[in-house]
Amino acid sequence: MFAYLKFELRRMFREPRLLVLTVAMPVILFLAITPTVKGANPAETDDIHAYLMVAWAAYGALLGTFSSGVGVSQERTVGWLRQLRITPLPPVQVVVAKAIACSLVAIPAVLVVSVVGMLKGVDFGVGQLGELALFMWLGSIPFALIGLAVGFLLPANLAQPASFLVSFTLAFAGGIFIPTESLPKAMQNVVHYTPSYRFTQAGYDVLQKHTQSATGWLIIAAWFVIFGACAALAYRRTAATR
């Protein structure tokens, strides 16, 4: 499996466009939006900017891992998955290696957005930066898995609109576009069980130097299991449909 992981990572490194996009998008959003947002006083403005930094870092991680998962659709179309399936490499290892490779896309996005934020005056320590990168990486594994499930199931032309829908819903539930506090109470209750909400909360916990929420990570772990099962089932289906 490590040989396959190495093979995948090397390929990813050779095709840095996806990586650049996942980094560029949140950085641009951060740089474009933060100057327009002001609090009641300078201290509050700094607070808001720090929040926005974490929110966009989380968004970059979410979108990057998810879309690289969906990218597997292309590999299926060219017959690569079929080729792998007729080697001794067990299917579960293919899914696991792929999920690891895709989840690693989270790290550069988080690091670059945070460093840009820090250069722009956000009060964020190097220790926090490391912690944020670690938690955003772990927390985005479920997004890589659901991305893989979409990629295994849908042809490339359908995968794109479907992935927009899924990633938008996830980002919305995570409170990245609109703070979840401003949602109706009933919706808030639902949102609190989503992986992306818990994911961004984990980021805010790092920012506020709170201990990580056990409930939050349990919910993320549950989604890891659910999305992992989706990806595994979807991969099994690809055997019959190429």
């Binding site: 040989a3 090397r10 390929r11 095709e15 060219v78 690569w80 007729i86």
Partner: protein, 297 residues
């Protein structure tokens, strides 16, 4: 001894279509066998079942006495499929290294590169290869694990004549090491030149199974037809070269593997005949003839 391949009463249906319609077949280790048939004959479906990519609707498929999936997992099988392909952003060598890493007893890299004639372009990116080169890369990927059984589905489809010859030379060298090779093709010459045994498949059934020469007699050859002009058809089947005789509306249709000898015999026999026609039988046509024969039998 355990058979390399064994299919017993295998049927595969896709909705109303019976892609494989009752195949019984066993292949011993070390045999080089061609599955010959027109497109849509069920060759690819059979190979996909032998690889565990498809489950038979009924019947059993065994590879080295195991289920196809077990045989694939244990690294005894290598395959080159029509619908399989490689991803971009990797070099030929990286791809071969990957194959070597996942098989338990791989061949040395240099040997693989040499066998598939890829040594010169080992560092080239997969997406920059020509059709023939990428086909050879797929061959290299299939044999990298030194599998006991190699399955090739239309392996030369993207190759020109020269590439084709080189490919078969490499394949023959591999088979000479005691390996079992099963390849699907719709070229009779390919089947005849490179296989010890040719299995003809049409409409999901095996309609002939024998050496290349035996098959060529039936599948190759020419069709000779003439009006009987009221005469009897007796004895036509005993004329030299004739393999099949059919009479339709006072017209005799003979399949012959030596049309010159047949014509000579016809002329000297003193029979009445008119509107003599000799056409070389296309493979498709030959398949049809064979299928009809098989159904009559």
């Amino acid at each position: 001894m355990t058979e390399a391949l064994k299919l017993t009463g295998v049927v595969k249906t896709f909705g109303a279509v019976r892609a494989v319609d009752g195949i019984d077949l066993s292949i011993a280790p070390g045999e080089t066998v061609a599955l010959l048939g027109p497109n849509g004959a069920g060759k690819s479906t059979a190979i996909n079942m032998l690889l565990g990519l498809l489950e038979p609707t009924s019947g059993t498929v065994e590879v080295f006495g195991q289920s196809p999936t077990q045989a694939v997992r244990s690294g005894r099988v290598g395959a080159m499929l029509q619908e399989a392909g490689f991803v971009a952003n990797a070099t030929v060598r990286e791809l071969i290294d990957l194959a070597r890493a996942v098989y338990p007893r791989p061949l040395p890299t240099d040997e693989i590169l040499a066998a598939a004639d890829l040594t010169e372009i080992a560092g080239r990116r997969i997406d920059k290869l020509s059709g023939g080169q990428s086909q050879r890369a797929r061959f290299a990927f299939a044999l990298a694990g030194n599998p006991d059984l190699l399955m090739l589905d239309e392996p030369t489809s993207a190759m020109d004549v020269k590439a084709r010859q080189e490919f078969w030379a490499a394949m023959r060298a591999y088979a000479a090491g005691g390996k079992t090779v099963l390849f699907a093709t719709h070229y009779l010459e390919e089947a005849d030149d490179f296989a010890d045994r040719v299995i003809v498949v049409a409409n999901g059934r095996i309609i002939a199974d024998g050496t290349g020469n035996e098959i060529k007699k039936v599948v190759g050859g020419r069709t000779l037809s003439f009006d009987l002009e009221g005469g009897a058809a007796d004895g036509l089947d005993r004329m030299p070269g004739v393999t099949v005789v059919e009479v339709r509306n006072d017209r005799a249709v003979l399949r012959t593997d030596d049309s010159d000898a047949t014509v000579r015999a016809l002329v000297t026999s003193g029979r009445a005949f008119g509107n003599l026609e000799i056409v070389s039988a296309g493979l498709e046509e030959a398949f049809l003839a064979l299928t009809e024969t098989a159904q009559e039998a």
